[in-house]
């Protein structure tokens, strides 16, 4: 819809600078017009140079994806046009630097060629001001109030002094004036709406805030794309919250430090991506055995191996759920929105502390670095759970001394903290209730059962703490097509199923956030209630589909894609249509 509901994309070579910032300013300005925004970005492989892009979708109600098709495309250079034209709405608007002439532009579209670089370089003598020129032009063309940009400029560059601010405002005005020379032919327009109270955040930022909200006191990490910004945020902010952030020598050290800190009583976390998660495998197994709470955020990127570090994929699920030698209980959670990143992180800490085991958060590059406008987070309503600490008074009556691995009904044993009476050895060898190494056959069976019993509590966690939804069923109880979805793919699934409904297809969604342990009964019920079940995910082996089959013994249709970019809504819609067609066909 041309008023307030469209998709903008900015693309160009990073050597030019400012591509991503242009999009960010746009997103913030649109949000200040009372609109909802949802962004998506891709980076080049190179540090300097190479094509980057940012896409900004704006709407009056929250959306679930950044949109399939680009309505307003802003190209800094010819290569950008060549790359992005395939996603360009033929009835859309192309804004380009008139230093080049875009080829094969659909005749149905509207184009505005402006000499951005020329203006910035010669008129303004401020080559870096180019992005502000573009924003000025945007303001003139689509009616986004110029003052909103001015305000943002002041906030962003205020600290750098009046001169910098003025130079940018000058660039803004120059672009504004230049664009006013065009006669507007296109239908796209921004109309300011009443402001509702919202925040604008990225997925990785939300994880950081979630960790602080949950009481994280030690963070240990090693830089890796696309998780490095979590480390950087923690290095900057954890100290003033009284915590200690650690940049360590590798990911093995990161998880080791997290376990040491947790053992000593601090809530602790690490964040990484695939290669780092793989390196943590041995310690993951140790955390499960020694029953040490910990949180691992895995921001997935395209694999295997070094793969495509700046591209998105959902292919670490196998490693998250099955990685580790021996029988390794753990909890795996997947957020699918920026808001979800916050809450899932809080619940990850809660589950780790409650069940005394490792909890893995599976986010991904697209979710990590997209920004969304979200409802404000009410910290006062958060539920934060601390582990059950051993208290020699309350838990006394045990004449044989403190039993760290006491065989309680839930499998959870109160934990003693260094400094207090109740010393024991956290043990990676199989052990008895006291933690003493013990290799009796029956003991191993009993202790393994104990460790897995905790997963039952994890499954019921959502019932006790209603803020957390391990799964959510959208749509009818029975339908022709059911779609099971997880992680960042859920957004495209929700939009696609809405479109499918409009086409008259009967469709339901099961969105699973707790991937392991799996709510088997629910998943089972969902599968048998649907004529056909689709499971789209961004990996080749159909990892969650495999998990679902393995846990339920029921079949689903896997829709696997590995291109490094999220699903388009239309791809999923197409798959739903096909299944619906099959259902009709076999009737």
């Amino acid at each position: 819809m041309p008023v307030n509901e469209f998709v903008i994309r900015v693309g160009g070579d990073t050597l030019e600078g400012g591509i991503i910032r242009t999009g960010e300013f746009l997103a913030h300005a649109l949000a200040r017009c009372g609109l909802e925004v949802f962004t998506f970005r891709t980076y080049p492989a190179e540090i300097k140079g190479g094509q980057a892009m940012i896409q900004v979708r704006t709407a009056e109600q929250p959306t679930y994806t950044h949109g399939d098709e680009v309505d307003i495309l802003i190209c800094f250079d010819e290569e950008a046009w060549e790359i992005h034209k395939q996603d360009f709405n033929p009835y859309g608007v192309l804004i380009y630097d008139s230093k080049f002439e875009p080829k094969n532009v659909p005749g149905t579209s509207i184009t505005y060629g402006l000499p951005f670089s020329e203006i910035a370089k010669t008129r303004l003598r401020n080559p870096l001001g180019k992005n502000m020129v573009i924003l000025g032009a945007f303001s003139a063309l689509f009616g986004l109030p110029k003052e909103t940009f001015e305000q943002l400029i002041r906030e962003y560059w205020g600290r750098r002094g009046e001169k910098v601010v003025n130079a940018n405002i000058a660039a803004l005005n120059e672009g504004f004036d230049e664009a006013r020379k065009f006669e507007k032919h296109d239908p796209y327009r921004i109309e300011v709406r009443p402001m509702s109270d919202r925040m604008i955040l990225s997925g990785n930022e939300a994880i950081c805030y979630g960790a602080i909200a949950a009481g994280c006191k030690v963070f240990a990490g090693y830089p890796i794309t696309p998780a490095s910004d979590i480390l950087e945020w923690m290095m900057e902010h954890l100290p003033h919250f009284g915590g200690t952030p650690l940049q360590v020598e590798d990911e093995i050290a990161a998880i080791g430090a997290v376990l040491g800190a947790s053992f000593a009583g601090a809530k602790a976390m690490t964040a990484t991506s695939g290669p780092g998660l793989s390196l943590m495998t041995e310690f993951l197994s140790h955390a499960a055995m020694a029953e040490i709470p910990c949180v691992i955020a895995d921001i997935q990127r395209a694999g295997p191996s070094t793969g495509m570090p700046t591209k998105s994929e959902q292919s670490d699920l196998y490693q998250a759920v099955f990685g580790g030698h021996g029988d390794v209980p753990r909890v795996v959670l997947a957020p699918s929105t920026v808001q979800g990143c916050f809450y899932v992180t809080v619940h990850a800490f809660n589950l780790a502390e409650l069940c005394q085991l490792p909890v893995i958060i599976l986010s991904d590059q697209s979710l990590a670095h997209r920004t969304e406008t979200i409802a404000p987070i009410d910290l006062d309503k958060l539920i934060v759970i601390d582990r059950e600490v051993y208290d020699s008074f309350i838990h006394s009556g045990d004449d044989k001394g403190y039993r760290r691995y006491r065989l309680d009904e839930t499998g959870i044993s109160p934990m003693s903290l260094p400094g207090q009476v109740g010393s024991y050895t956290a043990e990676g060898l199989e052990h008895d209730e006291f933690g003493h190494p013990n290799w009796d056959p029956e003991n191993h069976m009993t202790m393994t059962e104990k460790r897995f019993r905790k997963l039952e509590l994890a499954l019921r966690y959502g019932e006790y703490y209603p803020g957390f939804e391990g799964f959510r069923w959208y749509g009818p109880r029975q339908a022709d097509v059911g779609v099971i979805t997880w992680g960042s793919t859920a957004g495209a699934v929700r939009e696609a199923s809405k479109l499918a409904e409009l086409e008259g297809i009967s469709v339901a969604i099961l969105h699973v956030s707790m991937l392991y342990p799996l709510h088997k009964e629910i998943v089972r019920r969902f599968i048998i209630s649907m004529k056909r079940v689709l499971l789209p995910e961004l990996n080749y082996t159909g990892q969650f589909a495999h998990l679902v089959r393995g846990e339920t013994g029921l079949d689903v249709v896997s829709y696997a894609k590995v291109t490094g970019v999220p699903f388009k809504v239309r791809e999923i819609l197409e798959a739903i249509r096909e299944l619906a067609h099959e259902v009709i066909y076999v009737r």
Binding site: M199, Y209, P239, H240, D250, G256, A290, I377
Partner: protein
Amino acid sequence: MAVGTEVRERYKSDLKPIWCPGCGDYGVLTATFMAFGNLGLKPEEVVIISGIGCSGRFPAFTTAYGFHSLHGRTMPVALGVKAANPNLTVIAVGGDGDTLAIGGNHFMHACRRNINLTYLLLDNNLYALTKGQASPTTLPSQTTDSTPYGSYENYVEPCALAILYGATFVAREFSARARKLADVIAQAIQHPGFSLVHILSPCVTFFDTYDFYKQQVKELPQDYDQTDMHLALKYATDMEHRWLGILYRTYKPTFEERVQSIKEKAMQRYQNVTLKDLLNRRRV
């Protein structure tokens, strides 16, 4: 050499060590109890972190808190413990394989951080728990189950490494001299910063070095200057004699102190900003 029964009562757990009779590690355990006793440490304020190996079973034989971690991974765990609670007395126990083979990198980084902890390196010149393969401190003269034709790798000297890495207290002792060892361990614990005690601790089962070391060890000269790094490197790397005593001692800000100063800087930069404030700043 015996420990006072009082001390033994306080620090010895009722788990019977699984070490072979005559194993050098018994001497280290005893000396550690003595050092604890001399310093009057409360067992519950001590955390002993070990790796995997015969040496790795150490913590469970004491009444302190223990963390039996993974092969080679004592240092990351210790770093985490100290980050969470800098007031604890942390002792790490590692074998020569633990410390210098699989764990060599963590050892370096722990030294360079100058974490305030004491590292007991129980060196028996081989992998004992896996039954006698070559380690980085296997002697050139030694053949092992995994090096039947002799080794093709050079000996690695842990004290010199620690000094170069940035450890601020580096000593060598012999497990057969439990009283001296106890004294060195006590000094190491008291030292603010990373302290390494390299302990020659023979494995009587796979390669008994008692007699060999009895011949080879020598106390550092009376007038030895513990603060001279390059002198320390020379004495440490001398393979004719194995010099016993405190090879090197210096004072540098500890990891804990530096973390503290970073916290202060952050407080200054962000004042009393709360999470709520930060979230509010992200309002549209």
